[in-house]
């Protein structure tokens, strides 16, 4: 479904992503884990078309894509951002936020599509004419997911979709994503610094450090055996809580 070969991204003299290659099969949930500055978000922004300055090759559904994307691309690939407080227009109602992609792509039946999208993310019609400031963080993230899904894409890119949320709300959003993936047969790429979130939702993951993928494995392999790269082991240990040895190394 998605195939990335020898991707390089530089900002001035800084090489944010260097020689990254991976493939994601249709229906996969692929996780990218790493710390801030490891290039995971940059990689996602390249895939989504938000960063046109890269070299290498990207294929989506068998078609090579360049730096500039057409409308058809965005019907197929949508993105959900980290901060639901920043990613929704503060002066647009939920209705207007959801109506915009429909208008851009000239789809029919806007009314029914908006109602269905809200239903799908568990919000219901009473949220339709609210402004973002009248919603909680979890509700806003649901609106952002509804906006991404309203074009019925087959690929959803998720950039830290739960890291601004409390754990109880995070659980709701993770359940929602898992349910939508099955219902709509989506292919997901999830970027997160939280190994536990990635391991919970994904079936395959790649650990990134300093712009490169240091290890790629299935979640089953992660569960049954120690990861081989020392950095992945460190992340795994840190995800379990404070550990004296982890701090002194």
């Amino acid at each position: 479904m998605i195939s990335v070969r020898h991707l390089d991204v530089s900002f001035g003299n800084v090489r944010a992503v260097s020689d990254v290659s991976f493939t994601v099969a249709a229906g996969d949930i692929f996780g990218l884990v790493g710390e801030s500055g490891c290039g995971k978000s940059t990689l996602l922004r390249v895939l989504s078309g938000l960063n046109p300055h890269w070299t290498g090759s990207i294929e989506i559904a068998g078609r090579a894509i360049g730096p500039m994307r057409d409308k058809a691309f965005y019907r197929q690939v949508q993105m959900v951002f980290q901060d639901p407080f920043g990613s929704l227009h503060p002066r647009h109602t939920v209705d207007r936020t959801l109506a915009e992609p429909i208008a851009i792509h000239g789809l029919d039946n806007a009314e029914a599509r908006i109602a269905r999208a809200l239903d799908d993310v568990g919000l219901g019609p009473r949220f339709r004419f609210r402004y973002p400031h009248q919603l909680s963080g979890g509700q806003r993230q649901r609106v952002a997911i509804a906006r991404a899904l309203i074009l019925e894409p087959s690929i959803l890119l998720l950039d830290e979709p739960t890291s601004a949320l409390d754990v109880s709300i995070q659980a709701e959003v993770l359940n929602l994503l898992a349910r939508l993936r099955t219902a709509r047969d989506l292919t997901l790429i999830l970027v997160s610094h939280n190994l536990a979130v990635v391991a919970h939702l994904c079936n395959r993951l790649a650990v990134m450090q300093g712009g490169a993928i240091v290890e790629e494995m299935t979640v089953d392999a992660l569960r049954h055996g120690e990861p081989s790269h020392p950095y992945s082991r460190e992340l795994l240990r840190a995800s379990l809580g404070y550990h004296r040895a982890a701090g002194t190394s």
């Binding site: 754990v167 979640v219 404070y242 701090g247």
Partner: protein, 282 residues
């Protein structure tokens, strides 16, 4: 506890007067902090940060703080005037904030900020303060203190900035340190280092630590005792090692909602909030 507590709080209430009415952020909580690591966990809006700030009387004028007792040793913090509070802040109790980017003075080198913190509470000359600040930087495991001393906050990384903050907060040698989400702006591997430094210093100097966090696993593994807060009240207090055997439905719900490697492929149990949790007020 054999020793008298460093900080003793009884029936602490904090109300905020907002344009939309009165918000009760903290509703009658009791706790003591001794020479131990006490964790406060809870979700956003549970009142944990307000509790930490109320202890140092660092809340805005719109807040009303009442308590039957809010005492640091034998000093009544509620009755204390501004001058008395100034001598407490930093010297006896200090506070580490979440994000060093917003808590350090951007136009002053980090070394001078640390030296200033020391001179505020000790009558020493510049060179002595500088020497102390350099020692302190070495204590928080900064490799080249002489070099880092002359850097401005924007020139240091997040992890180093947080170590600078810890150095600044510990140099007046307080009895009690309040750390409000000290590592949540940091990467996991860096935050382990920062926690190890805190751990060492607290143990070595016999300080009390009030550790405020939303991360249950972190608190369970780092602290001695844990308070679980919800809706401005304490749901339960328990030894950190027993957090995973908690009995309160709120704590259980939070623990169950945490994704792990072993929950893959399953739905996470969603927390259902019971109004009765808040009804049982004294």
């Amino acid at each position: 506890m054999a020793q008298p507590p460093l900080l003793s709080v009884r029936n602490l209430c904090v109300r905020f007067d907002t344009p939309r009415g009165i918000v009760e952020a903290v509703r009658g909580i009791d706790f003591d902090v001794g020479r131990e690591r006490l964790g406060i966990v809870g979700e956003s809006g549970s009142g944990k940060s307000v509790t930490g700030r109320a202890t140092l009387r660092l809340l805005p004028a719109s807040a009303t703080v009442t308590a039957d007792r809010l005492a640091l040793g034998d000093l009544d913090l509620l009755g204390a005037d501004a001058a008395a509070l100034r001598s407490v802040r930093g010297r006896r109790v200090s506070m580490i904030m979440q994000d060093p980017k917003f808590s350090l003075n951007p136009v002053m080198t980090v070394g001078r900020q640390i030296a200033e913190a020391y001179r505020m509470h000790h009558r020493v000359g510049r060179s002595e303060a500088r020497r102390r600040a350099l020692d302190m930087l070495a204590d928080v495991r900064i490799r080249d203190p002489e070099h880092v001393y002359d850097l401005y906050p924007h020139e240091v990384s997040g992890g180093m900035g947080q170590r600078v903050m810890i150095a600044m907060m510990l140099i007046p040698e307080p009895d009690l340190l309040i750390a409000d989400e000290p590592t949540s702006a940091l990467d996991v591997t860096v935050s382990m280092q920062v926690l190890a430094i805190l751990d060492d210093l607290v143990t070595r100097r016999g300080m009390g630590l009030l550790f405020i966090s939303h991360d249950l696993n972190l608190v369970a593994s780092f602290c001695d005792r844990v308070l679980v807060m919800y809706g401005g009240q304490i749901m339960e207090t328990l030894p950190a090692s027993a957090l995973h055997q908690a009995t309160h439905p709120y704590t259980r719900g939070l623990l169950a909602a945490l994704p792990t490697i072993d929950t893959a492929g399953r739905d996470l149990p969603v927390l259902t909030r019971d109004p009765a949790w808040l009804a049982t007020r004294r």
